[in-house]
């Protein structure tokens, strides 16, 4: 009997071991390297000095330049998340209530994932460019005499991020809405609530965990983005991940780049911890299927 119990206790770990090994080798070990690297130094020629130095951390934590770019990054991420929430909720609600067309709508929602994120981001250049589709149409309709300068600003960065992240928000909210017992709304209506009141008092509160999960995903992914500000941003629209790239690639300062990337990881980690405390990570898992 004891042998059977021991085997049953081991079984989950045996099943988990490939995934654990992969996560350890591909995530924790590289992360450990980055932690070690963050305490090294860079010489004038770009070579690394091995040792335990706090210079990079001191610079990353005390220099207002990094703080300001981090705050700007969080601002862009917050705006993106709010826009995704405002646009994604009605779309998710519509899909959840779509009846027989639901499968088709979900398929359409997944379609953008079949195209590379970079290609999708660059497609905005062909839409919003001086000789792009939108300007061509405005000129053709006689609405404007000169093409409008629509690209390479904060708005286009947010637009690109929303384009990328909106499906994540919709899917999470949709899963949450799908889990709500429709008879609760009917009960509210039978007690005299209007449809709007039953939505506000019943459906919306019950779907908030999905909205929070979608919001967390949108926020974390947009705060860590690198491509979108590079492709669609103007000269001063760089985000924190661009600083990491610049430190590592342009300045060949891997130690400072490591400290900066860990700094971003820590900030986003705190956010995830707060989410976990109030909502729980299980809601995120629902959003993935």
């Amino acid at each position: 009997m004891a042998t059977v119990e021991a085997r049953e206790r081991r079984q989950p770990w045996i099943l988990l071991s490939p995934a654990l090994a992969a996560v350890t080798l591909l995530l924790f070990v590289p992360l450990l390297f980055i932690v070690v690297y963050s305490f090294w130094l860079r010489t004038a020629t770009g070579a690394d000095v091995v040792g335990f130095h706090l210079d990079n951390w001191q610079e990353a934590l005390t220099d207002p330049f990094y703080r300001d770019i981090l705050l700007f990054t969080l601002k862009i991420a917050a705006i993106t998340t709010i826009v995704c929430g405002l646009m994604g909720y009605p779309a998710a609600y519509f899909i959840a209530r779509a009846g027989g067309n639901r499968a088709l709508l979900l398929l359409l929602l997944m379609l953008p994932f079949w195209i590379s994120y970079i290609i999708r981001t660059m497609s905005w250049i062909n839409i919003l460019g001086v000789s792009g589709a939108l300007n061509s149409m405005l000129l053709w309709l006689g609405i404007v005499d000169e093409p409008l300068q629509l690209l390479y600003n904060q708005t286009t960065v947010v637009l690109g991020l929303v384009h990328f992240l909106l499906p994540f928000m919709i899917l999470n909210v949709y899963v949450s809405l799908e889990g709500i017992d429709r008879t609760l709304e009917q009960a509210a209506n039978s007690l005299g609530a209007t449809r709007w009141q039953s939505f506000l008092e019943v459906t919306l509160p019950l779907s908030l965990p999905g909205l929070a999960a979608g919001g967390l995903l949108c926020f974390v992914l947009s705060a860590g983005t690198y491509i979108t500000p590079l492709v669609l941003g103007g000269p001063t629209d760089a985000m924190f991940a661009n600083l990491v790239f610049e430190a590592i690639i342009t300045q060949l300062n891997w130690p400072l780049g490591s400290a900066l990337s860990l700094m971003l990881l820590a900030v986003l980690g705190v956010l995830v911890a707060i989410y976990n405390h109030f909502v729980g990570m299980s809601q995120l898992a629902k959003g993935f299927g």
């Binding site: 004038a44 070579a47 690209l151 390479y152 000269p235 001063t236 690639i249 342009t250 060949l252």
Partner: protein
Amino acid sequence: MDDTKRYERLLDRYRNGDIDRRSFLGLIGAAGLAYGVVSPMGRYARAQDVSQVRFDGWGGVVSQAFRELAFNPYEAKTGIKVVDGTFGGADEYLSRVKASQPGEFNIAHLSGVFDYARYADLGLASELNEDNIPNLDLVIPKLVEVLRNYTNGSLSAVPYDYGTTGIAYNKDQISEEEAKEKGASLLIDEAYKGKIGGWSDWRTRIWMAALQTGQDPNDIQDMDAVWDAIRTHRDLALKYWTSGAELMSLLAEGEIYTTEGWSGRIYALQDQGHPIGYVDPENGYGWQECLFVPKGSPMEACEELLNFMLEPEVAIAVAEGQSYPPSLDPQKVDLGEKIPNLPAFDPTGTLDGLTFANPAYWNGNEQEWSKTFGRIQKGY
């Protein structure tokens, strides 16, 4: 058959008209590259047949020239896969090399003496046996010497082409007279606010700012004025471009009217019929590109390749494909009809009209200047 005989036989076939230029380039280009490529297990693999080769270059029309003129026909004829990697800049490539095993990267189409020096400073310089590269005698001496001087008389690369970073402008919006008169100052002209671009490369930005403030780029006395000029440019610019493809797209689509640009890329735009003009201001940024062999590569085979790539027929054909003049001395080699019409071409072979970056000067300031530029670029 040894390497030399194989190359010579191929060259004979080309000279005799047995194969066309495209096929010829395809065969020699990739065959040569095959020698340069090793994996982390390269020391063992070298003893066997090469099944895959790697070359890293700048992408766009430059890599297109290599791909179309060299790699495709080579793959078709030999079955050997050519992995032609691209990079956005030498900084990016250096990071990859730094993270790789010795010998994993073999041949790189690097730009500038500055990068050669930087790679050497990091201990990546190999030592070529020049006896195995007799065609080096055909190369413009100034291009060779500037490399040799940095690596104590030896060479880790052979110069392959050269060009300039000058001022590109939309001829429908800006006259040639205005572009010539203003030169680099065109990039800080308020009249074109929102229609100005610029490479997000700290060296180029500082070089242009030095010209805008009337200073010698290789001996800047007033850095504050340079930073102010960079801030002015930043505030007027629509976009910092990060690759040659983006440069061409911004100009071709009319998103920007002026930017600095690479002579070969601008020539490619002109060749496509776009109304883009190009001027080299006084003290404009001259540079050379070299075929660099990092330490750890199979030297003898690479030397064979480099020598063959410097054969006039090969170098001229590739130069015509990528629109940059070859490093061959026009006083020693007949470069044909197209090359003399390329921007930045110097018929004298002295290159006295071009100003190259002083590697010691720029390397000495790299750490501080690249960091400061990174901050100014982002609004500081």
